[in-house]
Structures are given as C-alpha cells and as structure tokens.
C-alpha cells in the first residue's frame, strides 16, 4: 500500500522530497547574513555559500574581499597580522556570522575578553598606559586619523569607519605642536599620562638655562605659533602653560641678532657665556689678540688705553662700536684723527704718523725730523736754536715767518735797505746785489770776524780785510762809548737802549747807517749826561751844598 502510486502518501513523499531538496539547494544557510555581507551576497542558495566558504576555507573567502586585511597579513602589520601568528586564526572567531541582519560584525566578540575597552593592544609596539589606557576607543579610532577605505570589489560602498590603519606613531594621532621636525622621539620627553607637562623633559638636556637665559620668559625664545597651531596646541596642554614652539635654534646667532660689525674669528661663546647676566660681560674675551680681528690692532700705547676711552659706555651699541663698512667710518689705525683731535688744526700737511708713532706722541716717541719733514733745513746756524725762536710759543701749528732769510731777519734786511725806525737813508751798496750767504757761512753757528773779513776780501780785495777789522773796531768803540756813558750813571733811556740794539742789529749790513745811529746815540747820551750834571749842580745850590 505504501508503494501504491495511487496512494496520496506517495505524492506526499514526492512533494516532501521536492520541498526538502528545494530548501537544501536554495535556502541551506542557518541564518541570514549580517547587513554588511548580505548586501553583497543577497542569495541564500548553496552556491552563495561558496562565496565565503571556499575550498581553501573561510579565511580565504574573507580575504578575497577584505584586501585591507590581506594587506595587513602580507605586510605583517596590525592586529590581524598579530593574530595570524597563532595557529588556528580564523575570521569567524572574532567576526561571527549568520546571526541575523542586525548583528554587528565588529562587536564585543571581536576582542579578547569581550570588552573592547579592555583591549590592551598587544600588537602595539608600546604598551598603552596612562591616559591612553583611559580614553575611549573612539578618541583614537576616528575617521580623521585613519583613512576610510573602500574594498576594491565594492568601491561603491565606502566604509564609514574602521579600526584599521591607525599608525602607531605619536604624530599619527597627536598634532605636533612643536611645529618642527623633532630630533627626538616623543617619549623622550612625554609620557602617556599627560602631554603637558612633559615629565621626561629636562630643558638643560637640550639647552642649559643659566644666567640671563634662566630669567627670561619662555616666549622670548619660543615664539607664539600660528593661530592654527595654537588652537591645536591648546587642546593638548594645560591652561596657563606655553605652547612649546620652535625656537630658532640653539646657537646664539639663531636667536640673537649679531650686532657686531666685526666678523670674529671665534664663536660667540668665546666671549659670551650662558651664565652672563649681560652682554657686556663678554668683554672678558676681548684682548689684544682678539682685537686684531677688527681692523684696528691694539699695539703700544693703544694697549694701555681703557676700552671706554674709545668705546664710550654711555653711547648706544652702534655708536660704541661703529660699523667699519659704514660711510664716514674713520676709526682706522692709519687715521689718527678718527679718534684723536688734531691739535695742529689741520695746518700740517704731513700725516700724523709722519711725526708720531703709536708708542707715544712726544719726546722719544716723536719721529719728527725738521730737515726731512719740513721745507726748511736746519743748518748749523739754526740747528741750535730753540723752537720758540722761530715758532711762536704755544702755536702748535708751528708756523714760521718763512724760509727766506729776510722773512725772519727783517731788521737786518731793513738795515740793508737803509730803513730803521728812526732813520731812513739810501740802501747799502750790497742791497739786492749779494745774497745773505755771501757773507754768512751757514756752517758756522757763530761766525768769527775773521771769516766775515775774508768774505769781504773774496769780492773786493785784501785791503777790505783790514777795512773790515777797522770798521768793526770803530763800531765797537762807539758802542762801548755809548754803553759807558749810558751805563755810567744809568742815564740810558728806554729809547736809547732800543736804538742801541737797533744799531747793533744794523751792524755791517749798512755801515753808514750804523755809524749814523751810533753818532746820534752818542750825541743823545752825551746830552743826557750833560743835562744830568747841570741838574745835579742846580739841585746842590738850591739845597745849600
């Protein structure tokens, strides 16, 4: 009966087998896929199963689509690569499927222990500690820090978020508020408890703060960053602290403007030390050797001069240390007037160093040679004269009357011309006919009468030698007479003495005039003598003598 084709049971069996077969082929899955997978594998037939359950296993099926995971496994990076080191690694352990469309593929089942917040990131190169251990997953695993990807086969379905792709470098999450390529690892200064303060940071390890550097404001070296950087930095620092921004550098020049006009051979630290309270303390490093770096070497007398003599303390820097390259700079070693006042008032044509040397101005230091440095050679006659005999005392321009004989010896010259203050006669016969040196031998400071007489004979004849002696005796005789009369009773008036001196100066330069001067003086002296005696007699009469 059971096998009777006419029995409805047979048709029931056939229908049952057909239904079972249909379900087996078309709907064999235990439960629907999650929404993410169901959109790619809409079918529920047995062939759809093979999309994931491949001949090589489930993992191969997963990785055929999840190339981002396959990439991690290939490069041995990321948490999946860490898990793959364990034998039996399978995708379904952490991402179970067939639990309905609403079932999340990334859930608490995806983490060891079932608590995502307790996930200790065993694959990380560093242990999550401190604040990293307390913050929420989403604080790090956010879109802005990781590149949201699309699977190549399903590019029309970009991922909204992912835990993948977060770099373990600090700067992958944190903004580099330092704003310059760090030479150190972040953890050399910061720990994971707080960004600010940087617990391991010691400023002295980077730049020793001493001296004036210990007292200045942080912002003096760390300039205020840009607004964008400031905002980013503000989020990661405690209120009131400064954004540790880039300093220009550690060398002096990188922060400080070099005020020196001199290109020193040595570095700043050769003179200026970090512990210095002020820049001028760096003067310790200035000595004669270092000063040679400037265009002005300190030698001789300049060594003993105090610095402020040339570099006045009360002047600003540029005035104290003017730029040699600037226009009008005069502090050259060869230009004494750049520092020293020219007491010669610029009247001397020679340079300072012609006469002076750095070792000193006067005395033994003086290089002045009259014969070399002036247009007037001091002969034997003039050599023994004092300076003041030609140059007015106190006149540092050392101006003389001239270099010609007649420019200084004017009385003698006037005598030749027949001119005195009191008498005017015809010029001497020699006037404008012979030179001074025809009579005066400049090799003899005090020329004897004999030599003068010989000069007369040189032009005239030998008789003039005797004549010269006679004239000399005559003039001397008259002079003596006058002096005798004038000095005997002390009657010589001031005028008489001047005239006597004038006559002496006139001398041989104009014999006729000289004789007249003496004659007149003798007459005056004699008259004064006579008048004196008469007066004395009259006084005696009147007084009863």
């Amino acid at each position: 009966m059971l096998l009777n084709p006419k029995t409805p049971l047979v048709f029931g069996i056939i229908a049952t087998a057909a239904l079972s077969g249909y379900l087996f082929v078309r709907h064999p899955i235990p439960d629907s896929l999650s929404r993410a997978h169901a959109q790619f594998i809409p079918g529920t037939d047995i062939y759809s199963c093979k999309e994931c359950h491949t001949e090589d296993g489930l993992k191969a099926g997963c990785l055929s689509c999840h190339t981002e995971i396959a990439g991690q496994l290939d490069t041995k990076q990321g948490y999946h690569a860490f898990l793959a080191r364990n034998e039996g690694f399978d995708c379904g352990v952490c991402h179970p499927e067939h639990h309905g469309k609403s079932f999340p593929l990334v859930s608490s089942l995806s983490w060891p222990g079932g608590d995502p917040n307790a996930f200790d990131h065993p694959h990380c190169l560093y242990e999550l500690d401190g604040r990293h251990d307390r913050i929420a997953c989403s604080d790090c695993h956010v879109d802005k820090l990781t590149q949201v990807f699309s699977l190549p086969r399903f590019s029309q379905y970009p991922r909204a978020s992912t835990f993948l792709g977060l770099n373990q470098d600090c700067l992958a999450c944190h903004v580099d508020v330092h704003a310059w390529p760090s030479e150190k690892a972040c953890l050399d200064c910061h720990d994971q408890n707080a960004f600010d303060p940087a617990s391991a940071f010691q400023h002295d390890n980077v730049f020793v703060l001493e001296g004036v550097h210990a007292d200045i404001n942080c912002s003096d070296c760390h300039p205020i960053p840009s607004i964008d950087r400031m905002e980013a930095a503000t989020k990661q620092r405690t209120p009131g602290s400064i954004p540790y921004h880039k300093v220009n550098g550690k060398t002096c020049e990188e922060c400080h403007t070099n005020p020196h006009h001199t290109v020193w051979n040595a570095g700043c630290e050769n003179c200026h030390l970090g512990r210095d309270a002020k820049w001028s303390d760096g003067l310790r490093g200035i000595d004669t050797k270092s000063h040679e770096t400037t265009s002005f070497s300190l030698t001789d007398a300049h060594v003993t001069v105090a610095c402020q003599e040339c570099h006045a303390n009360d002047a600003d820097y540029n005035q104290r240390y003017p730029d040699p390259r600037a226009d009008g700079y005069q502090r050259q070693l060869q230009n004494c007037q750049g520092c020293h006042e020219d007491i010669h008032a610029g009247k001397l044509k020679q340079t300072c160093t012609t006469c002076h040397q750095i070792s000193g101005w006067h005395d033994k230091h003086l290089l002045f040679e009259h014969d070399r440095d002036t247009t007037f050679v001091l002969d034997a006659v003039h050599k023994n004269l004092t300076c003041q005999e030609c140059h007015a005392e106190g006149d540092l321009t050392y101006r003389a009357e001239g270099t010609e004989c007649t420019e200084c010896h004017k009385e003698q010259y006037n005598a030749l011309r027949g001119r005195t203050k009191s008498l005017q006669v015809d010029p001497d016969p020699h006037f404008d006919r012979i030179a001074c040196t025809d009579c005066h031998d400049m090799n003899f400071p005090r020329q004897s009468l004999v030599r003068y007489a010989r000069r007369c004979a040189d032009c005239h004849n030998d008789q003039y030698t005797q004549l010269a002696f006679q004239w000399a005796r005559t003039l001397e005789k008259r002079r003596s007479e006058i002096e005798r009369l004038a000095g005997k009773d002390n009657v010589a008036s001031e005028q008489t003495r001047e005239d006597l001196s004038e006559a002496a100066e006139c001398g041989f330069h104009h014999l006729q005039l000289t004789r007249q001067l003496y004659d007149r003086l003798l007459q005056i002296v004699q008259e004064e003598e006579t008048g004196k005696r008469t007066s004395q007699k009259e006084n005696a009469v009147w007084t009863g003598h």
Binding site: L19, L23, F24, S32, H53, L58, H99, S107, G114
Partner: protein
C-alpha cells in the same frame, strides 16, 4: 503473529513510562535552568555567556541535536519491528510502541533545546517543525489508539466491529503521521548533511 500481549489493550509499560518521564523531566529542567538564555533575542544571543554551550553547534546544543537525531533513528526502528512482525525475540510490539512514543517525545524536546527556540534556517525549520508536528500527531495517535484499544475490548465483549468512521480517522491519522515522518526524515538527513558538510568548521572548531 501478534502475541497475546499485543492483543491486549494498549498500555504504556511502566518502566518505559518512568524512564521517559524522567528524561522528559530532565530535559524540561535543562530548559528551565537556561531559561535566561532561551529568552534572549536571537541577535543578542552570541553575546550571552552560555552561547558557546547552548547554541545548536555548541557543546551542549550539539549534543541535544545528536541525541534528537539518534532518538529519531531509534524511533523509526519501530517501523522495522513492525515489519519484522515475527521477531518476537526483539520484544513485544507494545514495548516497541511505548519506546516509539517516548523517544519521539524526548527527541522533540531535544530538538527544542538544540534549536534554542529559534529556527532560522528553512531546512532546519522544516525538520524542526516536522518533528514537532509528527510528535503532536504521534500524541494524537496515542490517544486514538488508547481509545481504540478500549473499544476493541468492548467489541470483543459485545461482538461489534469498528465503525467506518473510526477506520477513516485511523487512515487519516496514519497518512498525516507517516507523511510528516517522511518529511521529517528527509529534512533531518539534509539538515545533518548540510551541517556536517558546510558547518563542520563551526561544529568541529567551536567557532560561533
């Protein structure tokens, strides 16, 4: 030939009844013991602490499935005993019928525990519901047979024959029960095949 006991009105053997009730009670106790899990909505069950044990492919859930399948296979052996009607050394048909009923009931309960009250796969659902319906029809059949046994006893006393109405009722029940049983067997075989063939990964490796 039916033995004298077979001609007696049907009555569940006491030992089988006691063992069956103990088994049913144990299964019911398990069901109550893990009540919190079975009440969790299906999408949230993977997060339950007992999921790996009680899920169909879990350590205990899979045992329920295996127990159910074995009991179903044993249950169907009653048909073989009926076919081998002369093999009295296998035991009386009365006992076999009692085992058939008890194993069917236990298998249905084991299937409930195995399914965790959730059948999402169409094939598994087909097997599950066929089992449940077959069990229900079996229970209905047991009631019919028990009543029919009493009427047979009366007929033997009063000399009456079964009425055509009862015959039609028996034919209808037999058709329905057999049809469901066949459907159950087919679906169960495919369910086992699919589970072993495609679900070996989870079953053998314990992956949810």
């Amino acid at each position: 030939m039916p033995t004298d006991k077979d001609k007696q009105p049907f009555c569940m053997p006491s030992a089988i009844l006691v063992l069956g009730l103990l088994a049913v009670g144990a299964l019911l106790a398990c069901f109550i013991w893990k009540w919190d899990y079975y009440m969790v909505p299906q999408p949230r069950r993977p997060f339950h602490v007992d999921f790996n044990i009680l899920r169909p492919s879990g350590r205990l859930g899979l045992i329920w499935g295996v127990v159910g399948a074995v009991l179903i296979a044993f249950n169907l052996s009653y048909l073989l005993r009926r076919f081998l009607i002369g093999w009295h050394w296998l035991g009386s048909l009365r006992h076999w019928l009692g085992l058939h009923m008890i194993t069917g009931l236990i298998a249905a309960m084991a299937a409930i525990l195995h399914s965790t009250l959730t059948v999402s796969s169409p094939l598994a659902a087909l097997a599950f519901w066929c089992l449940q319906l077959t069990t229900i029809t079996g229970l209905v059949g047991m009631i019919i047979y028990m009543r029919l046994s009493l009427s047979v006893e009366k007929r033997q006393i009063q000399g009456h024959k079964p009425s055509p109405k009862i015959k039609r009722l028996l034919q209808t029940w037999r058709f329905l029960h057999r049809w469901l049983a066949i459907l159950l067997l087919t679906a169960l075989i495919l369910h086992i095949f699919v589970s072993v063939r495609f679900g070996d990964l989870w079953i053998l490796k314990g992956i949810p």
